[in-house]
């Protein structure tokens, strides 16, 4: 029997894979990919809770997350392209203009 | 009119907003007329005030956040009424004598905003509204010091802001705890100060809350050792800034003492009399001595005003009607007198661009009218009878004598030390021969300065000779406050120390 815990653990594992990507990669594009993984991991969790609680609110959250993810991709990619055109690289170590 | 207090609070603010569209040439007349209307409104408030009724009048109540008991709650009693009038009066006088040349439009707008916050602090009866006005008052002042000040103005402005802000945050914590305790006791949230007054707390809570409130207020007063921001602020602020700061903003601290901790925590207040009095004594004597050592006229006045604030605090903690009425009255007289002194220093600064006493000497010969008014105000500051200060100082000390004779004697040295530094100031700058060539043909007071200063002199002398119209309502409210505190107190010691009037006055 697959319980809620199964889904939540899966969600946690996926989330941590995303985290690894975020911590590890220096390529801006990969960071965006990892972000997608994170969002999807939470979506799984939301959907699971929605099902096991019989409440649609979880799914609603998932929908909005999908919407946010879509906008994020659009804006993020746009910004990345601008950046790439100007600097010719996507290495995040090259972005340090906020150094305090 | 039911909403006169709201009008009083927000009229200057609205006028300030409109001031942005007034042309630069007519802004001065605009500012003065707004301040005049505001002043007349406050006088009207006084006229329609029922001096015989000790409680809150002209109460306005509008729930803002009902679930937390926060409401827009205004009202005045005898204690706050006259400080409101003082604020509007000083603003008017300050605007009349305003000598700032550059960027006068922004200055006047700032002053009108400041007026709103000052009046707001003194009429609000809801802790949150009080706190909001209290903090808002920092902003225009910060701007006035920072934009029109002397060389160190940024340092002084930031110091002023951060110091008082830090203090008031501590007070805010106290307020939140108080509201929570009120909730625990009654099951209802309320930030109304008059409701808080009715809450009787156990002693240990009282002491902690008292300390929280006291620190916040003490920094504003400013009590020793939290006073060091004041000389910088005064030293750097333009004349008008110093006038308002000394005359009204400092009064927020002492007014707060009378309004908040005393009736809320009578037992803790009695318990803390000795430490507070010791601080006040240090403040009185120490700053008086420091004032004597100053080389700059304005610093002398600044330190002298700290020293006198010590007497005010002492009078407040006398816990009897004489002392508290005296201290409230002394707030008013200190406002008038120190405001006038700062204005006088500003007059000479405008002419010579220096405030060092060594640069002057023999001014009495060159500027006789100026010297006359300065003489009157110096004597008022020293506390000569038939000036306003005497009434306040006398009553404060009379009141505190009942608490501790020895401390009163020590505090009384303020009349000696005050004479020492004030006369030395007067002697160095006004007596003697004219030494500096530049001083030979200084222009005496001009029309607007004379007008502003003479009206201050008039008030000083009038209320020194006949303080009854002001002292009467103050005394009524204070007497009811003291008997309320007496009723409310839970410890025997507090019952003993807090003495409502026992001597029956002849029927009038």
């Amino acid at each position: 029997m697959i319980t809620l815990s199964h889904y939540l653990i899966l969600s946690a594992i996926l989330f941590c894979i995303g985290l690894v990507g975020i911590y590890r990669r220096k390529n801006l594009l990969m960071l965006l990919f990892s972000t997608e993984i994170l969002l999807n991991a939470t979506n799984v969790g939301f959907a699971a809770i929605s099902k096991f609680y019989g409440d649609l609110t979880g799914q609603m959250f998932a929908f909005f997350i999908v919407a946010v993810a879509a906008s994020e991709v659009a804006v993020g990619l746009g910004l990345m392209i601008v950046w790439y055109k100007r600097r010719g690289t996507l290495d995040i170590d090259s972005m340090q203009s906020m150094h305090g | 009119m039911d909403h006169i207090l709201s009008v009083l609070v927000f009229f200057p603010a609205v006028a300030a907003l409109l001031g942005f569209v007034v042309s630069k040439d007519s802004i001065r007349a605009y500012g003065i007329s707004v301040a005049l209307i505001e002043f007349l409104l406050s006088i009207w408030l006084w006229m329609s005030f029922d001096g015989g009724y000790p409680g809150m009048q002209f109460v306005e109540m509008l729930p803002l956040i009902p679930s937390f008991g926060i409401s827009y709650y205004l009202g005045v009693d005898g204690i706050s009424l006259f400080i409101v009038i003082l604020s509007t009066f000083i603003t008017l006088i300050g605007l009349i004598a305003l000598s700032v040349k550059n960027d006068i439009k922004n200055m006047i707008i700032s002053l009108l905003f400041l007026e709103m916050t000052m009046v707001g602090v003194f009429v609000s009866l809801d802790a949150i509204v009080f706190y909001v006005f209290w903090e808002l008052s920092l902003v225009p002042m910060l701007y006035i010091i920072g934009a029109w000040g002397g060389n160190l103005r940024i340092y002084a402005a930031v110091k002023f802001f951060l110091y008082t802000f830090a203090g008031s945050l501590i007070m805010l914590v106290g307020m939140l705890v108080m509201a929570y305790l009120y909730y625990q006791a009654t099951g209802v949230w309320s930030f109304s100060i008059t409701e808080w007054h009715r809450l009787i707390l156990p002693m240990n809570y009282q002491i902690w809350l008292f300390v929280a409130f006291f620190i916040g207020l003490a920094i504003k007063v400013p009590m020793f050792p939290f006073h060091t921001w004041l000389p910088y602020a005064h030293g750097q602020a333009p004349t008008i800034g110093s006038i308002i700061l000394a005359a009204v903003l400092l009064k927020m601290g002492t007014y707060g003492l009378v309004r908040l901790p005393l009736p809320m925590f009578p037992d803790a207040s009695v318990y803390m009399i000795t430490p507070v009095a010791v601080l006040s004594l240090i403040m009185i004597i120490y700053t008086a001595m420091v004032a004597y050592a100053q080389e700059d006229m304005k610093q002398v006045v600044a330190y002298s005003s700290i020293s006198h604030m010590g007497v005010i605090v002492l009078g407040t903690f006398a816990m009897n009607p004489e002392g508290i009425s005296g201290s409230v009255f002394f707030m008013l007289s200190h406002g008038i007198v120190s405001g006038a002194l700062f204005m006088l220093v500003g007059v000479i600064y405008d002419r010579r661009q220096t405030k060092l006493m060594s640069e002057f000497g023999g001014l009495a010969k060159v500027m006789p009218r100026y010297a006359t008014i300065m003489g009157i105000m110096v004597m008022a500051s020293v506390g000569l009878p038939l000036t306003m200060s005497f009434v306040g100082e006398f009553l404060s000390l009379v009141g505190f004598y009942q608490v501790s004779p020895v401390m009163t004697i020590l505090a009384g040295t303020s009349i000696i030390l005050g004479a020492v530094y004030m006369l030395s100031l007067y002697r160095k700058s006004f007596f003697g021969e004219v030494v500096h060539e530049k001083n030979r043909d200084l222009e005496d007071l001009n029309g607007k300065e004379s007008m502003a200063l003479w009206s201050l002199v008039l008030v000083t002398v009038w209320l020194g000779i006949y303080p009854k119209p002001v002292l009467g309502p103050i005394n009524n409210s204070v007497e009811s406050l003291v008997s309320f505190m007496h009723e409310k107190s839970i410890t025997d010691e507090a019952k003993k120390v807090i003495k409502p009037t026992v001597i029956e006055r002849e029927a009038e």
């Binding site: 941590c16 985290l19 959907a47 699971a48 690289t89 | -």
Partner: protein
């Protein structure tokens, strides 16, 4: 039984796909793996009776987002590996591992998981898309509209950012930028 098999199968595939996404040096591989993972995720949604969400997942992610990435990548030199100076990789795994451990602990530990129980069994009879529609257009109408506006804004922003005059910076107009640019391109 079928559910368990499907779950484990999908889990295994999703996890491995995402690991490939995160670890691969080649951006194209990563993207492909990500797309595959996304589809697998939609499988979970179907398993969880969230049919509509599953469909959306496939359409939006695999259809729109991935296509967007694919187009986006045309701007970059996708074949060239970005030289990644990965510092302290052990720390990364330690951090992520610890986080995972804690999360799993939180969900598995009986004392905690006891509280996360299905209190309300799923009600049968109403089709999922229908139910979603009802909720979305009643209770969540305002957020839904806001989300719509947000998407619109994002779209416009994307077009403007990636659109014409791409040599000119719209966001980072720094003085002496030339030098900076040269340094970056080395």
């Amino acid at each position: 039984m079928f559910e368990a098999i499907a779950f484990y199968l999908f889990s295994a595939v999703t996890i491995s796909m995402f690991i490939i996404t995160v670890m691969s040096k080649n951006a194209l591989y990563s993207m492909s793996a990500l797309a595959a993972g996304m589809i697998m995720i939609s499988g979970f949604f179907f398993l969880l009776d969230a049919d509509f969400l599953g469909v959306v997942q496939i359409i939006v992610y695999t259809g729109a987002v991935m296509a967007l990435y694919a187009f986006g990548m045309m701007f970059f030199d996708a074949t060239r590996d970005v030289k990644e100076n990965i510092r302290a990789p052990k720390l990364v795994f330690l951090l992520s591992g610890m986080t995972a451990l804690l999360l799993v602990l939180a969900f598995v530990a009986p004392i905690v998981s006891d509280h996360i129980q299905a209190l309300y069994p799923v009600v049968d009879g109403v089709e999922n898309p229908q139910a979603v529609g009802i909720v979305l257009f009643t209770k969540y109408l305002v957020p839904f509209e806001v989300a719509a506006v947000m998407l619109l804004v994002a779209m416009i922003a994307g077009i403007i950012l990636a659109g014409k005059k791409m040599d000119e910076s719209l966001t980072l107009k720094i003085d002496g930028d030339e030098e900076f640019q040269n340094k970056g391109s080395k």
